[in-house]
Assembly symmetry: C2
Homo-oligomer: 338 residues x 2
DNA sequence: GCTGCTTTTGCACAGGTATGCAAAACGGTG
DNA sequence: CACCGTTTTGCATACCTGTGCAAAAGCAGC
């Protein structure tokens, strides 16, 4: 009952030609006469033949598989990016082998090893870093890596982020112009480049206006910690505005302030996020936030990756894409900023 | 500069043994002496050797890759399920090749063909159906398929859903007990089994209490259509409660009613959803909803799939898992239901 | 029909691994 | 040491395809 797999040899026999002829018919750009092509395709269709991609990769050395490592999908930014990435790569004939790396460090390395076992043509990590050792491994194996939404000093790795420093600076200007006097910041995880860059940009933006942040707490990109931090900021530091390190946390902050504490956003406290995930535009939140242009970030990621797959000698690229501030109603809007 | 890939032959040469010995050392359950194992592993470590999974699958006929087809990731239920699926399969040594099939029908078939090209060991589709033809193809190729959160009459396909009929009936009872007189229903897409089953269960639950739905409109599982439908229900049919076909649409409905129309939920209109995605528990929504136990659904999906991979003669299974009604504050709570 | 040129085809091999089978090594007993 | 039963090892082959090379076929012109 287990139907034997139909191979190119079966097709060749049926069509009365050689196996290599069959192979050529299914290899774009190979030399085949029209008559041969028709004969072979007819036989193939009849038998239901399709080339075995795995066997093909074994000989070409290209699997057309891209490994994707992602930490968690709770933050809507990542499923959104995943969907775009998958579509973009599918269009180029590549496919995504997906791995969850819940932890950082240890777990990630094991996961990347498994990816390499699958002979992937390239690796994308979403908001996940790599150890030096594993970066060296990928480099030695000739497999290009692109960090998506995460930076790392390593020169062997490409990276695509938004311009976090400039973006956060823009937010600082916006809040200062809004007349806020006591401004707090809930950082993303300070162990991540995005978290650090946004904090740095924000501080420098404030400093330019001669302002100090009233209070800065680490939110670790987690809802619960962000909510706790927000409460502390209001109760202990009397902030009138908070820049939250990403939208995902900002929603928790808004919930905590409005629902649990009975405050008004933005009348009592202005909230600004970072990412502009789809949720930010929902009527319940109307979050003012800095947009990470995920469409363009994905484009850049894909082209940086494919470029290095096609020409391995191309040096890795570090790309930072600028994004606009999307003004909604979670923060007081200064004159002339509408 | 392109480092040659290190193969089992290289390791064999270095360790002074045969290639088959190396293979056996890396094949669990093969006959190898302790000394041999140590010698080979030492050489392998030194060279950085890891078995080529693709070459292995070519000969074993098992790729340890599972194909996952998913329509869209905007509804939080799916990223959540994807994360669980990936973790569960990873634990069993399987990995996920992911495909987006935005459209239905035509597009899905092409995508599944591509999956088959990759010699996947099994296929999971999330909220995506299959044509007869492609189901036959998978069956002929001996590749088990599990429909996740979607039913289909086809006997060759396994399926795992929540018990949509019973769940929706529970919701009907709840709303009737709550004293609602004019109850509306925004269906999920009526072209899907989940949409139809929920509608049927809901209608039968109402009927049992001698109640007719005041109005039923198709929301197509889309936010915009659900919002429009909700407005129509209130303005034209004066409903005092709406059962919305899934949480994803329910959030849009709540936004429309509360923010755009200035109504109170649940004082003016009670809202009940279906899924219990994480968002439903957020303070801004506090959505009363029927929980689809995604943890157990994923477990069932994985075991149904692996079971058929291990023993191809096992018949496909149709599994419907019961879920509890999670009572929060988006709907009036009848006496004794707390 | 013959020559020279271009296109098409077949042959044979390679890519990296797992596995059946037979030969070799091992270990214990008399 | 010879014997026999059990492990362990190596040899050879298979999995399915792409591709370099040489042979064959096609074609145009005389």
């Amino acid at each position: 009952m287990a139907e034997r797999k139909v191979t190119s040899l079966d097709v060749a026999a049926k069509a009365g030609v050689s196996q290599s002829a069959v192979s050529r018919v299914f290899t774009p750009g190979a030399s085949v006469s029209k008559k041969m092509s028709e004969k072979v395709r007819a036989a193939a269709d009849e038998l239901g033949y399709r080339p075995n991609v795995l066997a093909r990769s074994l000989i070409t050395g290209r699997s057309r598989i891209i490994g994707l490592v992602v930490a968690y999908l709770e933050n809507q930014f990542y499923p959104d990016a995943l969907e775009r990435l998958s579509n973009a790569l599918q269009e180029q004939g590549y496919h995504i082998l997906i791995f969850m790396a819940s932890g950082t460090g240890e777990g990630v390395d094991r996961v990347i090893d498994e990816l390499l076992d699958y002979q992937v043509d390239g690796i994308i990590t979403a908001s996940v870093g790599m150890t030096d050792e594993i970066a060296a491994r990928c480099d030695a194996a000739g497999i290009p890596v692109v960090l998506f939404n995460r930076g790392q000093e390593d020169l062997r790795l490409s990276e695509v982020t938004s311009d976090n420093v400039a973006g956060a600076r823009k937010i600082a200007e916006f809040l200062v112009a809004g007349g806020h006097k006591r401004i707090g910041h809930i950082t993303g995880w300070t162990g991540s480049s995005t978290g650090r860059d946004r904090e740095a940009g924000f501080r420098s933006g404030l400093a330019e206006a001669g302002v100090e942040p009233a209070i800065v707490l680490d939110g670790h990109y987690r809802r619960a910690e962000a909510a706790t931090a927000a409460r502390a900021m209001v109760e202990q530091a009397q902030v009138d505005a908070i820049f939250v390190g990403n939208d995902h946390m900002a929603f928790a902050v808004m919930d905590e302030l409005r629902v649990s504490m009975g405050l008004s956003v933005p009348d009592d406290v202005s909230i600004v996020g970072y990412d502009d995930v789809p949720l930010a535009a929902w009527a319940s939140y109307q979050l003012t936030t800095l947009r990470q242009p995920s469409g363009r970030m994905v484009e850049a990621t894909v082209s940086a990756l494919l470029e290095r797959i096609a020409a391995p000698d191309t040096p890795p690229r570090k790309i930072a894409i600028d994004g606009p501030l999307i003004i909604r109603s979670s923060a007081h809007v200064p004159e002339g900023w509408a």
